[in-house]
Structures are given as structure tokens and as C-alpha cells.
Symmetry: C2
């Protein structure tokens, strides 16, 4: 049985736009339970809605709490995201490790991801109410993560625990052409290149053919692409034939004119 998606708890968030961005990030990865502890400007705040950009349902279902203990009363596992050293003595984990822990919860157990306000972050007393600390492996030179971005990385890792493959709205990849089809292309190409005098000097032909085949083979052409390339070779060869024919015709005409001029 799949674990319940974690809720997201924002402790003393400041900007309504950030609350909206958090809602959007949650909806992107299938989270829906947003809890606000003492939002600075009260709730609801109209400015959150444009930032949610379609995730209105998350904002409309958001609940406000006056204390963190009230907000997490029904949760059996709460992990706090913070980049600051703590003396709490709690296990420290990456978002990936945290997601595995959340996903491993069984049955009806409910979990939460706790984030501090934009300026102050989480207080040590708040962290002490949690069962673990999530810390995102940011560049030490640039630790400050936007609230919505801290949320989305955790929401993404949660979703990756059960949906770690590319969405299936892409057409299935077309298989590569068979060795036989490829060989047909190679042989046609090489025959035309023989005609063109491309393989020079002759003793290097074998190595040149080998290198050419290896280079083309790396592309993993599909059957359709092989057909297209055979057409390309044909067109180039015929084009060359046409050019030669034109030159011959022009020469013949010139000769003819010469002849007639001599008449």
C-alpha cells in the first residue's frame, strides 16, 4: 500500500506570493495538504492566488494553525528542512533520503514536511518537535534557497519514489534499423563513393570504410532514417550525374556550335 503523500507545513511564512508558489510546487508533484502556522499577514491573502498559477485547490484547502504542535498533532513523522547547524541531535538527511523515509511509512500513518519562514527559518524549539532534519546539498557559497524551491525539491523527490520514469505521453522510441538495413545503406554509399573516387589512396579504403560505418552506426538510425539517407545518397549521386550530364551536354553543344561555326 502506498504511503499517504506528506503534508507541507509552513511555519510563520511571510509573503503570500511564496505561499502561492509553494501551493503550485506541491500540485506539480501531487501534494495537496498545506498547513500554515501563524502566517504573518493572515490568511487568506489574495496575492497568493496568482502565484499558485492553477493550484487554487491547494490554497483553498489550506488550513491555518496558531501553534506548530496543533499543526502536526495528527502526524507520526515530521521532517524539518533547514540549512543551519542544529544541536537537536536529530538524524540529518538529504531530500532523497527523506523521501524514502516518508514513502516507507505504512498504512494510515500521516507525515509532514516542515519549512520555516523566509527570513528567520525554523527555531530550534520547532525543530525539536520533528523526527529528522532535511538539508539540501546546496553550494556552500550560496545556501539561501527560495521557499518555493525548497518545497519543490522535496515534493519532486517524494514523487520520484514512485514515479521515476519519464512520462509516457511521449511516443515510444522507434527501434533502430536492423543490421541488414544499415548494411544496405553502407554498401550503397560506399559504391557511390567508389564511383566518385572518394577512397584514395586505394590501400586506405578498408580503414576509411570501417571508420565511416562506425561513425554512422553511432546514430542508431531508425528504418525510416535509413530510407531517408539512402534517398539522400541517391539524390547526391543523381545530382552529380545530372551535373556531369549537363557538363557533357554543354561540351557537346559547344562542340556542335564549334562544328557549325566551322561549317
Amino acid at each position: 500500500m502506498k504511503a499517504h503523500p506528506p503534508c507541507v507545513i509552513l511555519d510563520a511564512p511571510q509573503l503570500a506570493e511564496n505561499i502561492g508558489a509553494v501551493a503550485r510546487a506541491m500540485a506539480n508533484f501531487g501534494l495537496s495538504d498545506l498547513r500554515l502556522v501563524r502566517p504573518r499577514d493572515g490568511w487568506p491573502q489574495p496575492r497568493a492566488w496568482p502565484a499558485a498559477s492553477g493550484a487554487e485547490s491547494v490554497l483553498e484547502a489550506a488550513r491555518v494553525f496558531d501553534t506548530l504542535p496543533h499543526a502536526i498533532a495528527d502526524l507520526t513523522l515530521v521532517l524539518a528542512t533547514t540549512a543551519r547547524p542544529r544541536e537537536a541531535g536529530l538524524p540529518v538527511m538529504t531530500p532523497r533520503e527523506a523521501a524514502a523515509k516518508l514513502a516507507g511509512l505504512g498504512g494510515e500513518a500521516r507525515s509532514g514536511l516542515l519549512f520555516g519562514g523566509e527570513r528567520a527559518g525554523l527555531e530550534t524549539a520547532d525543530v525539536a518537535l520533528c523526527q529528522g532534519i532535511i538539508t539540501i546539498p546546496v553550494d556552500p557559497a550560496r545556501r539561501s534557497l527560495n521557499l518555493g524551491q525548497a518545497v519543490i525539491i522535496n515534493a519532486y523527490e517524494w514523487r520520484m519514489t514512485f514515479d521515476d520514469r519519464a512520462p509516457q505521453n511521449f511516443p515510444p522510441p522507434t527501434p533502430s534499423a536492423s543490421g541488414e538495413a544499415l548494411m544496405g545503406l553502407y554498401e550503397q554509399l560506399e559504391a557511390e563513393l567508389d564511383t566518385s573516387g572518394f577512397f584514395h589512396p586505394p590501400e586506405k579504403r578498408e580503414a576509411m570504410v570501417r571508420n565511416l560505418r562506425a561513425a554512422l552506426g553511432k546514430a542508431g538510425f531508425t528504418d525510416q532514417e535509413v530510407r531517408t539517407l539512402r534517398g539522400v545518397v541517391t539524390a547526391l549521386s543523381r545530382g552529380r550525374g545530372k551535373v556531369l550530364a549537363k557538363i557533357a551536354a554543354a561540351r557537346a553543344a559547344a562542340t556542335g556550335r564549334g562544328d557549325s561555326a566551322e561549317d
Copy 2:
């Protein structure tokens, strides 16, 4: 030898604030090479700077290109992020798979992550210039990712290829107390509980002790925590003693008063 960090290419980005947010997301995970192809409002745009929130160096080093081919001219591997089905026939991968591919590039090879503009996304002709498609496993009901958030998930996955452990700015976890120390706590507690008459009926004592020890053992107390808890047990026991002493004293006093009243 570690691969170069990928550059980030924004094709026809619209909002300067989003370009700033992208710069901030890049800096959070150690990326620094930002390339803008035909930014709608020109470049530089003052409104990008506040959104970058400290990642000014990325914005200041950003380069502007008039076409995508110019922007990717020096790159040997370019992966396009898009949530839309394409007929390009390119390999489709998650950000995690993409990061592994980027990190696997050897030597001086340069790579890039391509993102489309906010409204239109990438054109098929742009995608055809890339070697693969990254698609983020979003909830099918809410596909639309903010530009900065699409960038940060990829930047995060890039960094996780070589920095997938919690930062070491946390104090190392204190080891759990030894079995001997734990047993000292258990035995003290159980002796006090015997005194209190907690284990009732007596034939259940063994199971009650076992359950209590198992419950406390799960916490993995440190030595300091064991000392603190032994103090707690002592305080509760002495407190109980004090209460009993007070009751006895009160009774004695009452008896005394009673005696004297009879005098």
C-alpha cells in the same frame, strides 16, 4: 576528472524576474554559465537583479545570443527540458538520468540544459538541435512548472551526482549509549516502579518490563540523554517521596492538633 557543470540556456525568456530566479537556482547548486537567446525585453533588465537574491555574478556573466545554434555552438551535449510530446525521436529521460549523462561527460566536453520561454516552451526545431529530452515526472493534472523551478530540479540533480550527502556543517551525530548504560536506566526505572506498585498484577511484570524496554530502546538515547532520564526518574521518585513525607507530616500535624484539641 569531474565533468564541467552544464550551462543553462533560456530560449526566448519573457520575464526578467524569472531570469533572476533561474540565476539564483543555478548559484544554489554551483552552476554559473547562463545563456539567453533573444530575451523578450532585451538584456540586461534591472528587474532580474532582486529576483537573483545574491546570485548577481551569474546575471553579470550572462551572455545573449541571437539564435540557438550560436548559443550552443561550443557544446557537445545539449538536453532540452519539455513536458510536451515530441516527434523528435530523441531519447527521453528524467532529470536524474539526464544528470548522470551530463556528469559522465569526460575531459573538456561542455554541456547545456535548454529551457523554453514561459508561454511557448520550445519549438520542435529547437528540440531537434539537442541530443535528448528531459521531462520532469510531474503530476499529470498539473504539468505547468515555473521556469526557475524546472531549472532548480535539474541543477539539484546535477549537484546530487557528486554531492549526495547531507552537508557537513552539522555536528556529527552523538553515538547512542551503550547497552550497559541503558540497562542502568532500565533497572533504576524498574526498581522505582516496583516501589510504586506499577507492575500489577505481578505475573505480568516480565512482559511489562520487556515492552517498556523495547519502547525506550527505539529512541537510541545518547549517554547524556540516559543521564538526564536517570535524573528524571530520580526526581519523580524523590518527588513522590516528598509528597508522601508531606502527607505524613500533614497527618502527623492533624493528629497532633487532634490530640491537643482533646487536651
